[in-house]
Structures are given as structure tokens and as C-alpha cells.
């Protein structure tokens, strides 16, 4: 992983990433719950190093699309490709090894575990997760664990939660939980991060921290796919925005263009008369 504290000054160059290789692709994806078509023939792609926004009115199917990409749901039609490989049939626990991590709209901390322990859980490929290794190669497990703790503490520093490291996660506020989820998924070193409404219910001060941290991650080369209702935040962060309505791809473009698109305004406000 690139060190999160490096290159603080560099700004992302949207023109350069536009031609970047496609990392995650949804191809004609559909998800039907009984008669409801939550996602209906939706296609989009997230490119290497890109910061892509996904907006749309409530019930447009944004989170369902996220769940499909993250593997929590299996599409009833269409395909999900990561790095060109079809992963539609694989479970959520396989996504992180493909380099795709996600956070949740309503944060899901491990409530009774400490903040530090929460972040440590994100670590991948640890020998100590195999039973016998703890008895046969205790030294290796211990060494890996020390490295993991060091990294977890750096990440807690990054999301400004260091002072809470020994507290159980259930004491965190809503905004702090969002930051904890961010640190936890960063521990897994994904190439692409799916962020589901990171700004919802977060106070303005903490929101600035979250925006700044997301920007820094992108500067460091992470691809970010962002669901967000806060248009100001989307405009500040994303070079490209996809608009979803009623499970379908409505339009896409720069935040500026999309915000002025009559079809988008109609989708949000409904037609007059």
C-alpha cells in the first residue's frame, strides 16, 4: 500500500484517470426482489485512480447496486467484473482479495471490541488466523501482529481516532463510526473503496475531516466510489457523477453538468402538474 501520509500536496488529475484501466465494472446488472426491480439493467465502471460519485433520489437503487458490487447480493441478471474477471457468483468475503473494500450506509462496528481491535480485524493474510500457526509458529504470528498494530495505530491517527483506541466501538458517535469503518477497510489495503454515504449524519467539523481524508486517499492512488446525497461534497470530490433513478442509469457527467440536467432535476423533484 502507498503510505497514507505521503504526497499531501498533489491534486488528482481527472483528465489523466479518464483513460485509466477499468477496475470495477457492472454490466447490465439487475436485482429483483419479488416484483420490485431495485436495480434494472444498470451499467457503470470505476477506473483506476478515479473518484466516481453515485447520486439519485431515495429508493433509486444506489445501495442495492453497492451491495451487488460488494458481493453482499448476487445479481439476478447481468455481471459484475473486477479487474476484468467475472465475480458475480462469488460471496462478499472474496471481494477484498480482489482489491475491493466497502463501508456501510449505517456503520457496522464490532461493538464490543475496542477501536484498535476493530481496525486490526481488517488485516489480510495473517498467519495467526490459522489455528495451528498460533502453536507452531508463534514467533511469526507475534511479529505480524506487531506490524499490524503499528499500521492500525497509523490509520487511527489518520482518521483522528487515536485517543479512543482502547474504548469499545459502541461508545463512538455516528460520525466516528464512519471514520472507524474507513480505517478498518483501509487496513485491508483495497485498491478501490466503495463509500456508502460517508457524510450522512456527520457534524460539519467531522465532515471536513472525512472529505479531506477521502481526498488524500484518492491522491495516494485509491479509486473511490461514493454514494452521497450531499451534492456539495460530491462536487468537491468527484470528477464524474453517475445518476441513478428507479434502478436505472439516468445520466452521467461532471457534477456541474449533472446538477443542471433537466432529467436529473425531474427525477429528484418529480414533474410539475
Amino acid at each position: 500500500m502507498t503510505d497514507i501520509d505521503q504526497h499531501p500536496g498533489r491534486t488528482p488529475r481527472p483528465s489523466a484517470v479518464a483513460q485509466g484501466t477499468v477496475l470495477v465494472e457492472a454490466r447490465d446488472v439487475g436485482m429483483h426482489f419479488g416484483g420490485l426491480r431495485a436495480v434494472d439493467g444498470m451499467s457503470l465502471c470505476l477506473r483506476q485512480g478515479e473518484m466516481l460519485g453515485l447520486i439519485g433520489p431515495n429508493g433509486a437503487g444506489k445501495t442495492t447496486l453497492f451491495n451487488l458490487i460488494a458481493g453482499s447480493l448476487k445479481p439476478t441478471e447481468g455481471r459484475i467484473l473486477i479487474g476484468g474477471r467475472d465475480v458475480s457468483g462469488e460471496g462478499a468475503e472474496r471481494r477484498i482479495s480482489c482489491g475491493v473494500g466497502r463501508t456501510f450506509q449505517i456503520p457496522r462496528p464490532f461493538a464490543e471490541m475496542t477501536v484498535l481491535e476493530n481496525v486490526l480485524t481488517g488485516r489480510q493474510a495473517q498467519a495467526g488466523e490459522r489455528i495451528w500457526m498460533n502453536f507452531l509458529q508463534g514467533g511469526r504470528v507475534a511479529q505480524e501482529e506487531r506490524q499490524a498494530v503499528e499500521k492500525a495505530r497509523a490509520l487511527l491517527d489518520f482518521v483522528t481516532l487515536s485517543h479512543l483506541e482502547s474504548e469499545p466501538a459502541r461508545v463512538l458517535s455516528g460520525g466516528q463510526r464512519k471514520l472507524l469503518e474507513l480505517a478498518r477497510i483501509l487496513m485491508a489495503e483495497p485498491q478501490a473503496i466503495l463509500l456508502d454515504e460517508p457524510a450522512a449524519g456527520v457534524n460539519p467539523t467531522l465532515l471536513e475531516v472525512i472529505i479531506e481524508r477521502i481526498q488524500r486517499l484518492n491522491t495516494d492512488g485509491k479509486s473511490i466510489f461514493l454514494i452521497e446525497h450531499n451534492m456539495e461534497m460530491v462536487a468537491r470530490l468527484c470528477g464524474r457523477v453517475v445518476v441513478m433513478a428507479a434502478g436505472r442509469h439516468l445520466t452521467e457527467g461532471t457534477p456541474h453538468d449533472v446538477a443542471r440536467d433537466p432529467s436529473v432535476i425531474e427525477a429528484y423533484l418529480g414533474t410539475a402538474a
Binding site: A92, F104, E112, M113, L120, T121, Q124, Q126
Partner: protein, 329 residues
């Protein structure tokens, strides 16, 4: 007199420690992983019967016995219970809390009925007798005999305790707790919930089987009525009282609840006339129920709550959890 008292104390502790082993197994399944196993008696029975069949002398009209050394019996009992747990787990581990409870309850009932009816294998309602007892050569000296037995059980419990502590405070244990707290989030972090739950379920079941084997050899006789749902209830009571999620709590709870059980049995025998004693025995169960209620009201996390440990490589943060507002399902 005092020799008898010491011998009785040793006997009491030895039996309590066999329950402590079951409790350690349940703590791995429930305390760490959140697996709601209500079929403890079944896994204990498998361990007991397998060990008994392996170690008893050849008996007419019943499978075996094979007259193998006791250590083989204990290991065989534990492995058999672990194997059955694994197979049961393969079928049921995806079930959520209450459904897993129903499934394990049914399996325990089936195991008990098999023990009762498969006479050519289990000896049927009469059970299996003449199970070799550890240190049988010392049987002439009650004090030495009970001390040796107690020492053996203490050794087994300590070995298990240290092994489990090592695992619980490792990244493996951390994943178990993460799955217990929020399976969806654990999956998103690449942890295969099915694999880890299955491992915890099989190891926990194996430990229960070991407890069953140890108990069978210590008592010297087993029968199907030893493995009724009451046993499951007792072990659950022990873990709740001692402190779910804490291995020391599991051991402490086993000794305390077994103490309540033994003392109340003695009291009932002293207070009630023989005609009423069978009925009065129900008071024992009521007492355990009262103990659980008292603990849940006064100290919901149990006497020793879950220790909050990030990693054994960092040392304990030595903070107990506050009373949990809710148990993870």
C-alpha cells in the same frame, strides 16, 4: 474424619472440573463466536460412549470393548465428538441463532435416544459399566486416589485453558469475535464466517466430548439418563454465572454452580423424608434458575466479564466490559 473430608473435597472438585471442560467448550462456541448450542449433552454423550467402548474390556452382547489405553479413549472420544460437530456444523452452521439452537437440541435428543435404543453398541438403558478409572491401583487409599484424580483433571483443565487463551487472544480469536459482533461487516473484511464458525463449533464440540470421556472414566459408569437436556441447562448456567466470553469465568462458574447443585442435594437429603426426596430434587433446578436470575439482574456479564484484550502480543488492557446492553444474536 478430616481425611474423608479432603477426599470428598477432591471428589467434588474433580466432578466440577469435568463440567469446567464442557463450559470451556461452550465458551468457545457461544462466548467467543456467538454459536447458540443447546445440544451440549449430545456431544458430551458421544465423547463418553466412544471412550467407554474403546477402553472397556471385551463384553458379550455389545460392541467392543476394545480394552485400549485410557488416553486413546479420551482422545478418541474428543475426536469423535469433534467429527460429529463438524458434520452437524456443515449442515447447520449457516443457521441463525435460534434455528441453530433448535437443530442442536434435536441432535442431542437423537443422540440420547440412540444411546437408549442401540443396545448392541451402547448397552441400551443399562449403559456401560466397568469403565476403567484413572489410578485404579490407588483405589485402596481413598485420599491418594482422589488426589491423583483431581491432579489429572487440574492438568487437563490447565492445558485446555492455556491453549484456548492462546487462541482467543490471537488473530483467529479476533475473527471469531468479529463474526459474533457483526457477520456482514466481517464478510466485507474478507473473513469467511462459515469457515471460522465451523472451526469454533468443531473444536468446542471436541472439548465437550473430552469432558464426557473424562467424566465417564471418573465415575466408572455411564447410562443414557446422564445425558438429558438437564446437563445442557447446567452447563449454560455455569457459563452465564461465571462470565460468558471469559475462560476463567467458565471454570469458576462450573465450580460454583456445581457447588450449589451438590450442597442443595445434600440439604434436600437431610431435610425431606425419603418419600418426598425425588420430588424435592426439583428444587435443585429451581435454585440454579434463581442463581441465573440473580446474576443476570445484578451482574449481566457474569461474575468475571469478558476480558478486553486486543492481542496477546500487546498484553491485556485489563478492562472489563460494562454490562452489555444486548447480547449479539
Amino acid at each position: 474424619m478430616s481425611v474423608e473430608l479432603i477426599a470428598y473435597g477432591c471428589f467434588f472438585l474433580t466432578v466440577a472440573l469435568t463440567y469446567a471442560i464442557m463450559c470451556l467448550g461452550l465458551n468457545l462456541q457461544w462466548g467467543q463466536t456467538g454459536l447458540f448450542n443447546v445440544g451440549i449433552a449430545g456431544f458430551v454423550a458421544i465423547g463418553a460412549y466412544v471412550s467407554a467402548i474403546l477402553t472397556t474390556p471385551d463384553t458379550a452382547g455389545r460392541l467392543g470393548g476394545f480394552g485400549l489405553p485410557m488416553a486413546v479413549g479420551w482422545l478418541g472420544g474428543a475426536l469423535a465428538a469433534a467429527l460429529v460437530s463438524y458434520l452437524v456444523g456443515r449442515l447447520t452452521i449457516r443457521l441463525r441463532a435460534d434455528y441453530l439452537a433448535i437443530a442442536t437440541f434435536g441432535i442431542a435428543a437423537a443422540v440420547q435416544l440412540c444411546a437408549l435404543n442401540l443396545e448392541p453398541i451402547t448397552g441400551g438403558p443399562f449403559g456401560i459399566g466397568f469403565i476403567p478409572r484413572p489410578f485404579a491401583a490407588q483405589a485402596g487409599n481413598p485420599l491418594l486416589f482422589s488426589l491423583f484424580n483431581l491432579a489429572l483433571l487440574i492438568t487437563v483443565v490447565l492445558l485446555l485453558y492455556f491453549a484456548l487463551e492462546r487462541l482467543v487472544r490471537s488473530p483467529w480469536g479476533r475473527v471469531l469475535r468479529a463474526i459474533r459482533e457483526d457477520e456482514t461487516a466481517a464478510l466485507a473484511l474478507g473473513k469467511s464466517a462459515t469457515r471460522f464458525r465451523l472451526q469454533a463449533f468443531a473444536i468446542g464440540g471436541g472439548i465437550m466430548g473430552l469432558a464426557g470421556a473424562a467424566q465417564a472414566h471418573f465415575i466408572g459408569f455411564i447410562a443414557p439418563e446422564n445425558y438429558l437436556p438437564m446437563l445442557t441447562f447446567q452447563v449454560w448456567a455455569m457459563l452465564i454465572v461465571g462470565g460468558s466470553g471469559n475462560n476463567r469465568g467458565a471454570i469458576l462458574g462450573a465450580v460454583l454452580v456445581w457447588g450449589i447443585w451438590a450442597v442443595s442435594a445434600a440439604l434436600i437429603a437431610a431435610v425431606f423424608d425419603p418419600g418426598q426426596q425425588a420430588r424435592a430434587a426439583s428444587l435443585q433446578i429451581a435454585l440454579i434458575g434463581v442463581a441465573i436470575c440473580a446474576v443476570l439482574l445484578l451482574r449481566p456479564q457474569g461474575i468475571l466479564g469478558e476480558m478486553r484484550t486486543v492481542s496477546r502480543h500487546l498484553g491485556t488492557l485489563a478492562k472489563r466490559t460494562q454490562p452489555a446492553e444486548k447480547r449479539p444474536e
